[in-house]
Symmetry: C2
Subunit: 141 residues, 2 copies
């Protein structure tokens, strides 16, 4: 069950270790239709191309896409007639994701501001418990 004699073939455990994930993860991705490694008998054998595909998958994950999105995009990428459409779809998805992230960033900024405000009020209160607690910012509720 060892494929190390051939430089471009990997077992699950090998490739998983190589990519910094567990074998379970690779099998899970297969379950979800993201990869389909060859088999020798019952045993999975990953090629260099499979590895490349997995690198793409992991990058997608790191960028915050769900496995479903990644799978759909890869399928579309393989089946499509030209490249143009997929690249445009990719651009759209990326723009969408950027919008989401920038919204999250604004939410974070607002939350941090509110937390800092509460901290300030709390500190003033600790310094002088008689002074009424007074927030300078108004919360959204």
């Amino acid at each position: 069950m060892d494929a190390s004699n051939h430089p471009e073939l990997y077992s699950v455990t090998e490739l998983a270790a190589d990519l910094g994930v567990t074998a379970r993860t690779l099998r899970f991705y297969e379950d979800k239709g993201l990869i389909e490694p060859r088999r020798i008998g019952n045993t999975r054998v990953y090629t260099h191309r499979d590895r490349g595909r997995l690198v793409l998958i992991l990058r997608g994950k790191r960028l915050g896409f769900s496995l479903r999105e990644i799978r759909d995009w890869l399928a579309l990428y393989e089946a499509g007639p030209g490249q143009r459409r997929q690249l445009e779809a990719l651009l759209a998805k990326a723009a969408e994701r950027i919008a989401t992230l920038e919204q999250q960033r604004r939410d974070i900024d607002a939350t941090v501001a509110e937390l800092k405000d509460i901290m300030g009020a709390t500190r003033r209160w600790l310094a002088d418990p008689n002074r009424k607690p007074q927030h300078t910012r108004k919360a959204r509720q």
Copy 2:
């Protein structure tokens, strides 16, 4: 099952509507030990104080704390000997949360930058497919 005759008493549905959540949510919070409204027979009756407590709970949620954290903090707030300790605990929690959020913000910034980089490369590729795709930034993997 209507408590509207008394200005400070609410039924689940009333208070839920008032707070913009569902009755299920209030019962769930009770299950999790965050509130303990009085009962008339089997029926929940919320007082003005319960409402105040729920406002605190919802603010905690909005600021990104888990129900468990909120519950623990409320318990500590009720049981504690003075206020000083709880306020200091609150300060610590808030600082912790701010640190988490600022880390998230950095992650978002990095991700957005990478996405924009990919978009740029994709656009150049669309404009001139002969030119090799070339990212200016290097990803973390």
